[in-house]
Symmetry: C2
Subunit: 194 residues, 2 copies
DNA sequence: TCGATTATGGAACGATCATTAAATAATATC
DNA sequence: GATATTATTTAATGATCGTTCCATAATCGA
């Protein structure tokens, strides 16, 4: 029919995703996306219509990160220790980084979703992936008698996911010396499951 | 000495605060601030040097909101019910709003603090005000035997504050039909205190 | 090989960005 | 009332914003 695309869509969206992740939605310019992806302006706009379109596709691409966290939850170890590893990992990545960037879904929830219902839906889809992974882990913990069964796994999963999002906010203002505080929050969250 | 200021600094900073709150830091332009404050560009820049300076002062002004939440915690009622009112109030304001804006401190934590340590310090100061108010409330609850004393009030306050920040993230992607989910999170958070 | 169709890269669009310069106005001290 | 100092207003700065246009290139089915 016509000339085929020369660029690898996954590579382009990964580059866009990294840019939005590092600089935020409003903080990312079309020039930033051209530089990051290597594409010409025309190609970018022909493929994704506008900045918002690029952002939405980059956010969809980000879903694989949430799946990565779910995969980690399924690795060997007790369910509670897997949940601890999830939360400590989230905290440690940014506390140890020279440039903090948090989580693109969380960042987009706060910066964009408040004013854009369509992005809110996309972010919610991302949130659901992790929440279901947590729920699955909690169910395993309940079966093993490690987590209380007085509350259903779905409710406990929401509770843990909420704590995870809290950690993302607190980590963004925290320094290395605050690691102990964040650890006590993780401790209390896990204690609430027993 | 010289010509006195004609503008009321509190009014100007309130207007700037509202603008940053509603549109975000990067989403707010100098023109937006001129329109909101009624000042000329020159006056704004003479008084606050640049956009970042205006933002910092607006963020300082926002501290009174955190103090307002603390005041509410001190109103009549059992400590646990006061904490519930705090969290439900936070959720309800945005779920019922046509335009969600969340919390300026939380928004700034995510959008700005990750990349600006000075703003991180400012936001942390705001966070500390509410966290200490929560701690005070928890201590009252412990004295009344309503909240467990097996963990010190400071730790439990961090745990509750973390949940509050989680709610701010979740609320930004939530609709009116998600109120029940958020309520169960609040329930679980309070159950963890008993 | 031709015509239809789509991709590409770069130039160009008007609008807006944050910031500054300059001219005028108002006050305090002397 | 003169002078120094600061506030206010308006215009203008160069840079960058998101987006579009256009000429060229590459591939398809015919």
């Amino acid at each position: 029919m016509a000339r085929p695309r020369e660029f690898d869509e996954d590579r382009v969206l990964d580059a866009a995703m990294e840019t939005f992740w590092r600089k935020g939605y409003e903080g990312t310019s079309a020039q930033d996306l051209v530089d990051a992806t290597g594409l010409g302006r025309g190609s970018l706009y022909a493929a994704y219509a506008n900045k918002q379109g690029i952002f939405e596709q980059a956010l969809r691409r980000y879903h694989k990160r949430a799946q990565g966290h779910v995969d980690q939850l399924r690795e060997p170890g007790s369910p509670v220790e897997r949940l601890r590893a999830l939360m400590e990992g989230i905290v440690d990545v940014d506390l140890g980084a020279s440039e903090k960037r948090g989580c693109l879904a969380t960042n987009s929830a706060i910066e964009v979703a408040n004013r854009d219902p369509h992005v809110a839906d996309l972010v919610r889809g991302n949130f659901d992936i992790l929440t279901r992974g947590i729920e699955e882990t909690i169910r395993r913990g309940q079966d093993a008698g490690e987590i209380r069964s007085t509350t259903d796994a779905e409710t406990l999963a929401l509770f843990v996911f909420n704590a995870v999002q809290g950690l993302r906010v607190l980590t963004s203002t925290a320094g290395a010396k605050d690691r102990a505080k964040l650890t006590t929050i993780i401790d209390q969250t896990l204690i609430a499951l027993t």
